[in-house]
């Protein structure tokens, strides 16, 4: 079976900084305080015409740099391009964060010395290496909505449909249609795609 390549796309012209995606994510996966797999960022705040918001999480990169630097090799990339990792193998060294273009890896502090715990990041709602939809998987990685045939919760929740997730072709089609409808405005490559998907 030929797998489609899954991608995230956030349309800056639609994102209204409502934070719905990050709240939905944190609630759906029951993330501890301080861990935000997805974050909405606004730049040039208050400058007319320049203000822009976007939602950022792990982009599930092609040739993911996190996987390349991991000293314990805890990352694996699914055939549909989703980048996942094994929290039982992860030692919380932080190397993936240094390699990541998007600042996606998060580190809870645990233990008496406040050492970094196992890394946590967006799974594109695809869980982890443990048995699909098991209690253990849900506890460590959150919901596995992909396995249930559901859209990742952030995109499902997005009120303006700025945040899209899906196979590369469908996302590209929506993107192209929107750019056409806007009369070609914002025809640059989607934000972050150059780094994540090498514009492919």
């Amino acid at each position: 079976m030929d797998y489609a390549r899954m991608k995230f796309y956030c349309d800056e012209s639609r994102c209204i900084e409502c934070d719905g995606c990050s709240v939905a994510c944190a609630e759906a996966h029951e993330l501890p305080t301080g861990i935000s797999r997805r974050k909405v960022v606004t730049i040039n705040e208050g400058i007319p015409g320049k203000e822009m918001s976007t939602s950022i999480a792990c982009m599930h990169c092609t040739d993911a740099p996190c996987q390349q630097v991991c000293p314990v090799d805890c990352f694996y990339i699914r055939e549909d391009g989703i980048v996942l990792h094994d929290k039982n193998t992860c030692i919380g060294c932080g190397y993936c964060l240094y390699a990541c273009p998007f600042g996606a890896p998060q580190f809870p502090r645990d233990g008496a010395f406040g050492a970094k715990g196992a890394m946590d990041k967006c799974t594109m709602c695809a869980g982890g290496p443990l048995e699909t939809n098991s209690e253990k998987e849900r506890h460590l990685y959150g919901q596995n909505r992909i396995a249930e045939g559901k859209v990742p919760v952030c995109a499902a929740m997005c009120s303006t449909k700025a945040l899209l997730v899906g196979d590369a072709e469908s996302v590209s089609n929506v993107y192209r249609a929107r750019v056409m409808a806007r009369g070609g405005k914002g025809a640059n490559s989607p934000y972050g795609w150059d780094k994540a998907y090498k514009n492919q």
Binding site: I56, P71, D86, L97, F102
Partner: protein
């Protein structure tokens, strides 16, 4: 006392600001960090670190780990160790303070170096509990080393300053390439020991600082940002690169230090255990020092 409590609290808050609103990594800076990743005008530390860690660091560590002891094994087989008679005349060279400071550093290194290896070759060890424990020990045993590094630096700095003897020492590689026992020019510390001193002290401090950066991860030091013009994430990337590169040097010289004291010069290790050095050993390997001690009537 209050000062220490305040310092302790400050340190704790330093560690716990990790996910606070003023995060230096996940906060406002995040967009700039993303936009700057690999851009022409940036330092490109992200891609540089990725490339080095992906392709080189582990292999270089493996090379040092096999290469340096390998070379010494050949040296041991071909040239062999230097054996000095255990004469009755001894000189008390290292007092209790010197020895305690040295031993604390020694124990720290004996934990820090093997655990560092377990982290570098974490995939070989399968990650998980073992490697996580190694990572924690790697950090915990930095504390005793941090405590002794400055006293150690101060107590030996006078003897560790390079002079003309060292040029001559280097030209004959300390006489270690010959079996002959000719007096070799050197003070209390020879050129090799001096090199180890500077790598252990300056390199050690560099390792402590770069390691602390990676441990605390998300802290705010405006002064450092102003000084380097780097964002927090770029400083962490630089710290990771420096920590690895400096690790090669510290590792290579640590192995050398152990080989010299335990194998190449039979019994040399006892000088740092008991504090006494053998006359013959000093006479040959530290002849400048020997002359000085002789003049003072110490032997």
């Amino acid at each position: 006392m209050r000062k220490y409590i305040v310092m302790f609290i400050a340190l704790l808050s330093l560690a716990s600001v990790a996910m606070a609103a003023e995060s230096q990594i996940w906060g406002e800076m995040r967009i700039q960090n993303i936009l700057g990743y690999g851009q022409e005008e940036s330092l490109k530390l992200g891609p540089l670190f990725t490339m080095l860690q992906h392709h080189y660091f582990a292999w270089i560590f493996l090379g040092v780990l096999i290469g340096v002891p390998g070379a010494f094994f050949i040296h041991y087989k071909i040239i062999g160790p230097k054996v000095f008679p255990h004469s009755e005349k001894k000189y008390y060279a290292f007092n209790l303070y010197n020895r305690i400071i040295h031993q604390v550093a020694a124990v720290s290194f004996l934990v820090i170096i093997p655990t560092g290896f377990i982290i570098v070759f974490g995939d070989f060890f399968g990650g998980g509990t073992l490697v996580r424990m190694a990572k924690n020990l790697h950090g915990i045993f930095t504390i005793p080393f941090t405590i002794v590094v400055i006293p150690m630096a101060l107590m030996w700095v006078k003897e560790a300053i390079f002079n003309m003897d060292d040029v001559k020492w280097l030209m004959i590689v300390g006489g270690y390439l010959s079996k002959e026992k000719k007096p070799i020019l050197a003070g209390k510390f020879n050129c090799g020991q001096k090199m180890w001193y500077w790598v252990a002290i300056l390199g050690g401090i560099t390792m402590i600082l770069s390691g602390a950066f990676m441990y605390f991860l998300d802290f705010k030091m405006q002064m450092l940002h102003d000084l380097t013009g780097m964002s927090q994430i770029d400083m962490l990337r630089a710290a990771a690169i420096i920590h690895n590169v400096m690790g090669f040097a510290v590792l290579a010289l640590f192995i050398t230090h152990v080989y010299m004291s335990m194998f190449a010069i039979k019994g040399a290790v006892h000088s740092i255990i008991t504090g006494y050095v053998e006359e013959e050993e000093v006479k040959i390997l530290h002849s400048t020092w020997y002359k000085k001690l002789k003049d003072q009537g110490k032997f």
